[in-house]
Subunit: 455 residues, 2 copies
């Protein structure tokens, strides 16, 4: 290949995707539908519209349209921070002395610090369009809450965030960013909702979980006029919005004639991974190309690798529809020593189905080795990565080292979803040598799975 | 003009400057030389080389070469985070309903969070080239210390940072970023140096100042084998490295046929401002163009607007050479309520001379109005700005509003030097409504100026 590859491949503004790619349209085995917990039947549009904005509910149910147009107002906002660069990790390659070519799609160059803004602005737009007053949501590590606060400030919407208590306490400055954008932030479980009071009574001193914060946010939305609930991951609508990541990545690779061999992403709820891989999986589904795709999850919250593929509650309070997904059980709460995000008990139904069909592989990584990879990446590539993203870095480094052993010049692409500037509490533990690893026992997971609905 | 201006103008990798521009070569009135405090005579290369790396000392004394080539190793590092975008603030313009066109050169898209990395990597490179073991430095708000830590990690140098105590306490996470990159961080004044012990004894409970941290870092450097001192602002060498900002800005503007009417930058030690404006001032000095250039400084540390243009000590401990500059006196310590950087008592000798010659104008801004501007910018443009940079935003907004009144379609360019992700303590005060303003009295400044050397 004659074209020299720059450190950063920046697309032009006009190359920002104008359509989201709906991988479900190309999937022969569709993801299982959301079920109404009361009836056991698939959720209808009207039922979903009580909780979500109507257009988002339509996107949630849409398994047939391959492309969904991105509205002009969202495109305008995308132009403020997109296209994001696809970076060739020349310095990391040199440090590893590997023949592999490593590329990362960097989504952290915006104030939310991550890819979350891609869906936040879409969801805020549809809420505004529907004439709502505001939205409620949950946030774990704080990236999603920050992104949604920014999006709501842009469209002049109220934003109420329930933040998982352990993050709220570890990340006081995350809260201030959200407040600066005008959002209100409540540690969850709180005493403001019925479900929060119940969980606090049942588990005194609990540090909270995403599943629990979701329950609170849903309750707050449905009990307040002019409000709807929005979610930062797991749902198919979110994964859809995140396909801008994969579409840009593919355009950038194609521009330089690069064929990815391996695509690696971290997986919590699955939306960033799903967004990154969708266009590539689409090629696989259509028999046009083949890729090795690896989802990396924390050893402390291993839904794909150690969970079950069954219908489960999406939230601890059991107020949400049921979803078929790889799950550890809705009561599963990762050990508080696990830093950052990737704490959700289940996995996107799209990613779950692709994994079940063998199109995606999955691995786990332990926290301390994730931070070792993060530090090596920071020192060589200059960017201090988010703990979440560092799961993908860890496996990318592992694979690059394998290439050194085999002499293979693989093209390794991974998603660098965000920066770790608000995760310094965790980095401090790592720097101090006090960071620990936690791997749940089989008994713990089995006990948690017992509470799944019998469907 | 027919060419549509994108939200972000990204230059290509090959358009990154290959030379720094030395504005002193074009200045008829050269900045006054640094003086040896013992002899009162200009510092020689040999004298400077005891404190600084030799090549940097040569750059410090070089007032004749118009362009200085950027070494390949520095260019390689620049490619990791440069070129930085020149952004058209479409959303801010719309919010202000102004006919003005607002552009900002955004230097915050790197982990150091600011432009400081432009000089840090240069200084670390020359230290490595000279075979040094490590460098010492001071940091105020923490941006410079972070940048230097990153640069030293890249070249495998030790890095010892003296951090102004008030910032050290307000920004515990800054320290962790530096530690992650392998630096050691000491709050200043410390008990580790003679000058630190003396200042602690004289002013018990002092929150420190840049001038005091400089003294400590210099002492630590000259008393340790294989170490030199490096500085993040004020010096002409630093301003030289920062001209990559202005050169890229000019290339981007020229590419789209945009003629700036007004260039605005915040001014602490003066290096970011000087770097941004150098190529434009060069045109003014050569009679090729005219620009309105505005330096914005905090009302609590107003060296240009209320200081004197005289020789002064560069540091509190009086261990550094004397510099002729606009100064408030080396003992001036801004009130601790003043957040972020821009706390230095003096101003770059280049900027001082340009200001004295009437090529630059200066204004002050009060802290609360700076944060109001910061919040408005964050909500409209999506980027949470550093408090330092927000001084420039404040004046850019003022000028854009004036344009609304006069109907002028001015092109306003300002430097957005960095992000505020590690300044959330200050944002919290702003959000809580507890932020206060402080303006030193004439008597306070006069008393501080009394201690300047009699030259």
């Amino acid at each position: 290949m004659s074209k020299e590859i720059p450190y950063k491949i920046y697309l032009e503004e006009k190359e920002i995707p104008r359509y989201w790619y709906n991988v479900r349209a190309d999937m022969q085995n569709k993801p299982a539908p959301l079920l109404n917990p009361a009836t056991g039947k698939p959720m209808t549009l009207d039922e979903l519209s009580g909780v979500f904005c109507r257009e988002l509910a339509m996107q949630e149910l849409n398994v047939t349209d391959t492309y969904i147009e991105i509205p002009e107002e969202i495109s305008s906002f995308y132009k403020m921070y997109r296209p994001s660069p696809l970076v060739r990790a020349y310095c990391l390659e040199k440090a590893l002395d590997t023949p592999a070519h490593i590329y990362y799609k960097f989504e952290g160059n915006n104030t939310s610090g991550s890819h979350k803004l891609n869906s936040a602005i879409a969801q805020a737009y549809y809420a505004k369009k529907q004439g709502l007053k505001g939205v409620t949501t949950e946030t774990g590590a704080g990236q999603w809450g920050t992104a949604l606060s920014m999006a709501c400030a842009y469209f002049g919407l109220d934003c109420k965030v329930f933040m998982v208590k352990v993050s709220y306490e570890q990340k006081p400055f995350r809260r201030e960013v959200m407040r600066t954008y005008g959002a209100s932030v409540t540690p969850s479980p709180s005493m403001e909702t019925e479900v929060g009071r119940k969980i606090n009574a049942e588990f005194p001193g609990t540090t909270g979980s995403l599943g629990c914060a979701i329950s609170e946010a849903v309750e707050a939305a449905v009990s307040t006029d002019g409000y709807r609930y929005v979610l930062g991951s797991v749902l198919s609508q979110v994964l859809l919005h995140q396909t801008v990541i994969g579409l840009e990545t593919k355009t950038a690779l194609d521009k330089y004639g690069i064929k990815a061999d391996m695509i690696i992403g971290c997986a919590g709820g699955g939306s960033n991974l799903g967004g990154l891989i969708s266009p590539f999986v689409g090629e696989m589904l259509r028999g046009e190309a083949d890729y090795e795709i690896i989802a990396v999850e924390p050893a402390s919250c291993p839904s794909l690798t150690r969970g079950k593929y069954i219908y489960d509650f999406c939230d601890t309070g059991k107020v949400c529809p049921l979803a078929k997904m790889y799950t550890l059980g809705s009561g599963f709460i990762p050990a508080p020593n696990h830093a950052g995000g990737l704490r959700y008990h289940g996995m996107s139904s799209v990613v779950s189905q692709l994994y079940d069909d063998g199109l995606i592989h999955a691995r786990t990584a332990k926290q301390t080795e994730v931070f070792e990879a993060a530090q090596q990446f920071a020192k060589t590539e200059g960017i201090l990565p988010a703990p979440e993203s560092s799961h993908a870095i860890k496996v990318a480094i592992d694979e690059a080292i394998k290439c050194k052993e085999t002499g293979e010049e693989k093209n390794i692409v991974f998603g660098l979803t965000g920066t770790g500037y608000f995760d310094m509490y965790a980095y401090k533990q790592f720097n101090d040598g006090t960071m620990t690893n936690y791997v749940p026992s089989d008994e713990e997971i089995a006990a948690s799975l017992k509470n799944c609905p019998k469907i």
